[in-house]
Symmetry: C2
Subunit: 415 residues, 2 copies
Amino acid sequence: MEFLRGAAVVGQSGGPTAAINATLAGVIDGYFREKNGSGAVTGLYGMKNGIEGLLKERLCNLGEIFAAPDGTIDEEKKQLLINTPAAALGSCRNKLPKPADDPAFYENLISIFKKYDIRYFFYIGGNDSMDTVAKLSEYLKTSDYKMRAIGIPKTIDNDLTGTDHTPGYGSAAKFIATTMQEIVRDCAVYTTKAVTIVEIMGRDAGWLTAAAGLPKLGPDYVYLPEVPFDMDKFYADIEVAFTRHPNIVIAVSEGVRFADGRYVGEGTQTGVADAFGHKYLSGTGKALELAVKEKFGCKVRSIELNLPQRCAAHLASQTDLDESVATGRNGIEAAVSGLTGSMVSMVRSEGDYAITYEVSEISKIANAVRSVPRDYINEAGNNVNEKCLAYIRPLIQGEVAPKYVDGLPVHFVIE
Amino acid sequence: MEFLRGAAVVGQSGGPTAAINATLAGVIDGYFREKNGSGAVTGLYGMKNGIEGLLKERLCNLGEIFAAPDGTIDEEKKQLLINTPAAALGSCRNKLPKPADDPAFYENLISIFKKYDIRYFFYIGGNDSMDTVAKLSEYLKTSDYKMRAIGIPKTIDNDLTGTDHTPGYGSAAKFIATTMQEIVRDCAVYTTKAVTIVEIMGRDAGWLTAAAGLPKLGPDYVYLPEVPFDMDKFYADIEVAFTRHPNIVIAVSEGVRFADGRYVGEGTQTGVADAFGHKYLSGTGKALELAVKEKFGCKVRSIELNLPQRCAAHLASQTDLDESVATGRNGIEAAVSGLTGSMVSMVRSEGDYAITYEVSEISKIANAVRSVPRDYINEAGNNVNEKCLAYIRPLIQGEVAPKYVDGLPVHFVIE
């Protein structure tokens, strides 16, 4: 494969996670290794707010920001970045046109790349971001400009195909499992009948909600969007749980739907769709709260775990952060080795948990969704089973030790 | 003071916190010290669900549960209890009758105490729990039965008088400050105008919401119930913040009220029905979300921090846990030394932060509320000032290191 020398640019896209900056740190680390090793990567720019900022040439010089005096990476800054939630470069939700529909868009992009001698493009994100890499790669096949584009996965939703799991998911799962365990303890203190419904993120896939099943002292039921939601069965489940104890805790995905396809939270939607046509859901927990209150007349409350699910860096999974750094570093290595149009993917070994890093062809990954398999869910459809938990458990292992000053974690902010 | 020998009983009451079990651990630790030291305290029972369980003689033998083979406290169990959120003994919200109104109620209580030779009564809780101790103490003055009753404060609300602060507050404040900092990072990633409103617990006092002001990279505004809420000023504040950046984050107490005394969250309806045809009543955050959406037409969301504020033991303040243990231990010591009708209180030293433990007369404490002083709030009434932060900051210092197994904190459950 041809040796390609030039600068690299990296962007973050889509919803933030507690681990996407660890992936960025991995890319930065990989850059310093290549700069000082093969010499292929001569500089590293960060796109501010992803493609949106790249188009406006809002770039920062990560190679300078993270350089130690000796020309290697500043390890302290790197570590702070690893433990900082959300997207330090900013994010966007832009969707690129198809190359055939708007070649001028790509010609403009290429002119920006040329201006900065950018030969390597790294995009960290979920489905939509992989779509961006796929389209850019498709265009590059027709261009004289030599350049390689690599997608690096991140999404708390864990719904990308082509990888065992996605960086970001393990930290979200650890937060959800820990918080559910704490909520169950909190709810157990009174003797009066009460139902607490905890709504968990996940529009299409139930991976996040499944993590609520991890604690031994966990919720009574876990409802995923992969199983049609039935109100009568739901009420019957509650009746059964009340025979065991007065305090019922239920984990439910925001994305649960009735058999006819309607979202349980439908009608409480804002009606606003995002750039990709996704509808924002809100209110599944609230809808069920009101229904249960009417049916059982007992105390009922709903809790949305909300943004902390994706930004609680103080409770990130060390395994997830380590793997996120590794995917970033592997992205650089893959590109330097000659790959393009690919996504870094994680392959799980048989037996004891271990991950190897490979690449998948990105055009096959973009816009596909990986759901929780039916055989990860119990027969009654109201909980996950041990097969599912055995899949998730290794991903939440290890506690982080972020730097605290004055009682609060220190975050690294790229101005 | 007369040497009083007999068993002790301890209960937890009111809303759970991340530190109330640390206080219980302090009481248990104090018991083992006295049992093996002065010999005054001969046994330790736990009331299941506070007074409610005591009346039904639902007691557990904490002296047995926590005994190491050598007769001292089992340090491992003690440490697990310290790091377990909520109330390990269960809680209740019972309010006792006035002794003059219902002496039979107290005669019944005394008969239970006699049955178990209970001479020491410890009640861990907030305002209502101190009221319980005050009433029992009042009755005991008129009784032949020799017994001492001590209140040990806990409330995340920090609104008890007679103590510099309350055990439980520091951990809640650390959670709120850390989570606000993470939410601010999360919200900063997009360039589109957006307002995020975070609703924080505290119906009457703004101490919890004030903690949102701790991070340097914190919310734009912090609104406490101590200042009348004005919609026009609120809108004007948002206008000003938009001149600085597109992503506004606001912390607001659930208890903010308009000048006429109406709660901001009162009687608000979304007007949107859910799948079941319910219309809902919304909270303060939701009410403000809808108002801001209508006024500014931008993306607006509201987040309720909800139960994790009081049960996120994984992020407790080590200072808070240490002080909670100490208040429990001091409760036992105070009772053995002859005190009754008292609450353990914390006194802050001048200069460098340090706490000494004293007692306050409980009848003066019960049912009084301590608010955030006006001079802890800026002139505009839309944020806390450094005087306030300097008061809170020492209380959130120190990170806990709970035991984790399989990626999750281990909780100690008293069956």
